[in-house]
């Protein structure tokens, strides 16, 4: 088997049994990356030297006979909105084009404690705002299944890199579907954890009440391994928590399919959905039924409001978060003007791309005097209703199954000219962020050659359970 086709456990075992060295593994990935990424453009920065020296360090540990953590020497990629100390972090924006991260994000620190091996930083929509990775200031990433199509977004670089075997796993971030939708488009596994399950310290903020970091991997088992490594409360992120679920580690064999109650919300099978996608999703649900799970129709009656609700809350929080890019403290600074206000106006005019500007404008409008109650406060109340819908449904079922996206990967430039059309591709994923729930995207079939993902949504902090449920189909 090719070194670049292994899962995390397989690669780990190969290292421990000395079938290949970490250096060889790293070189195999770097060689493939150099060759293949010319057409895919998944990476913004490749950290070749530090990756190779890290590989040597892991080889030394193995030679000394020391036990190595499961992620030691396993080549990974990090979305370029997560800080890796002393490595450029651009958030795919001109405003941070030359920004060198002064510290590690908590998730990176945790991975480094396992002696991880970082190959580089991956492309995204600027500030993670988008669903196609076309909003990157440094060019679009291509879908490995069809180079004329988008990989999804905003974690499109991470998803394409994993799908094209340019790395073994990657980290992404998900504010309204940014892990799950690209995972679906690229035929791999993506986990958006419960809000608060993973520290956001060192993640460049987009919408703070919605953002979560999560793994993008080839298999469910890999997602579990990476999630285990990065989760947990962090004193540097006051919104992060230790899971309160006592039996957090639900072994796969404890999830018995005959006891499983799966909810399928009727509001998610709507007009405008690609009938071929609907067919693939329904077949996947049928497989669970045939294996003995009980399928129940549930109602999430405020589903229709989720997207408008999201497009008030996310831009509002973004407009506040992005106020820090002022040309004074770091980042692009346009200082030709006469006074301080000119520095602000010009730096932000030069530095931010069209979608980021659009969302800053929208958020500023929604929060401005006279509109706050009509927009932001109203959206927060609707958010309560959306969350209540899920709470009600989860009284009856263990997990909720939906499509991740109404279509498979679309063509480059197909939706980029009309912002609202692009927003609609998030229609099945944003509710989960508003309600703070964990959800995975699991490959479940194809339309032609294009992959389709099944979304499995769980109760708060039940990541292990939805992963175990996903594993049932993966192994079926």
């Amino acid at each position: 088997m090719e070194l670049t086709e292994l899962t995390i456990t397989q690669a780990h075992e190969g290292l421990v049994k000395k079938e290949f060295s970490a250096f060889e593994l790293c070189q195999a990935y770097l060689a493939r990356l150099e060759k293949k990424d010319k057409e895919i453009s998944a990476f913004l920065t490749v950290t070749k030297d530090s990756a190779l020296s890290q590989a040597k360090k892991v080889d030394d540990m193995i030679l000394e006979g020391r036990e190595i953590p499961v992620l030691a020497g396993i080549p990974c990629a990090i979305k370029d909105n997560i800080l890796v100390e002393d490595v450029r972090c651009t958030v795919a924006s001109k405003i941070l084009e030359n920004y060198i991260a002064p510290y590690d994000a908590t998730v990176v620190k945790k991975l480094k404690e396992e002696n991880c091996l970082i190959l580089g930083k991956t492309n995204l929509d600027e500030f993670a705002m988008g669903s196609s990775t076309e909003n990157s200031a440094f060019g679009s990433t291509r879908n490995p299944y069809d180079l004329s199509r988008v990989p999804g977004g905003s974690s499109g670089g991470s998803a394409a890199a994993v799908a094209a075997n340019l790395c073994l796993y990657a980290l992404g971030s998900d504010t309204g579907g940014s892990i799950r939708q690209p995972a679906s488009f690229c035929g791999i596994v993506g986990l958006k954890p419960t809000y608060g399950a993973v520290s956001r310290y060192g993640l460049i903020a987009f919408a703070s009440s919605l953002d979560q970091i999560g793994p993008i991997t080839k298999t469910v088992e890999d997602a579990k391994i990476v999630f285990e490594a990065i989760k947990g409360g962090d004193e540097l992120d006051s919104t992060s928590v230790e899971s309160k679920i006592a039996n957090f580690r639900v072994p796969a064999e404890r999830v018995q399919i005959s006891n499983l109650r799966i909810g399928v919300p009727k509001e998610y099978f709507i007009k405008g959905m690609d009938p071929e996608v609907e067919k693939v999703i329904k077949e996947a649900i049928k497989k669970y039924e045939e294996m003995g799970a009980k399928i129940e129709e549930v109602s999430l009656s405020h589903t229709e409001c989720a997207l408008p609700c999201y497009y008030i809350i996310a831009p509002s929080e973004a407009s506040a978060n992005l106020a820090r890019y002022d040309g004074i403290k770091y980042g692009l600074s346009e200082s030709k003007g006469k006074d301080l206000l000119d520095v602000y106006l010009k730096s932000r005019e030069e530095g931010f791309g069209p979608e980021v500007r659009r969302r800053i404008m929208l958020g500023t409008y929604a929060l401005s005097a006279g509109y706050y109650e009509a927009y932001y406060l109203r959206a927060q109340k609707v958010r309560t209703l959306i969350k209540d819908d899920f709470d009600q449904a989860f009284k009856e079922v263990d997990a909720i199954f939906t499509p991740v996206s109404p279509t498979p990967a679309f063509k480059l430039r197909e939706k980029i000219t009309d912002p609202l059309t692009m927003y609609l591709s998030d229609i099945f994923t944003v509710s989960v962020n508003l309600a703070g729930l964990p959800a995975i995207s699991l490959p479940c079939g194809k339309v032609g050659k294009l992959p389709v993902g099944l979304q499995i949504i769980g109760k708060p902090f039940e990541e292990e359970k939805i992963l175990a449920i996903g594993e049932i189909l993966e192994k079926a």
């Binding site: 006074d339 659009r358 109340k381 729930l437």
Partner: protein, 95 residues
């Protein structure tokens, strides 16, 4: 449809320089998005409490004391500043 003046006003609040061309485009695009968002006005929200975070939040307290390694961190942070003078951030005149 929101007016050109409104777009200019929001841009000023957001400290966002706009080009002439953008003014018209934002007027059109923001109006279309706001129109879509209007859907929320149909929802009955009487008696509903707002949700700001999906999980229960508690205030996190700690002692206000210096944590190690500040000097090296400060150096790295200052290296990122576009313009400094004697270890301070330099800005243009405000008035």
């Amino acid at each position: 449809m929101i007016s050109e003046e409104e777009v200019q006003h929001i841009a000023k609040l957001a400290r966002l320089g706009l080009t002439e061309k953008e003014l018209g485009r934002f007027q059109k695009e923001l109006s279309a998005i706001l129109n879509y968002i209007e859907k929320l006005k149909e929802v009955d929200i009487s008696g509903v409490e707002p949700t700001s975070h999906s999980i229960e939040m508690e205030n996190v307290m700690r002692e206000d004391e210096e944590k190690g390694k500040l000097k090296t961190k400060n150096k790295k942070l200052l290296e990122l500043v576009p313009e400094t003078k004697d270890g301070y951030l330099k800005v243009k005149s405000i008035l």
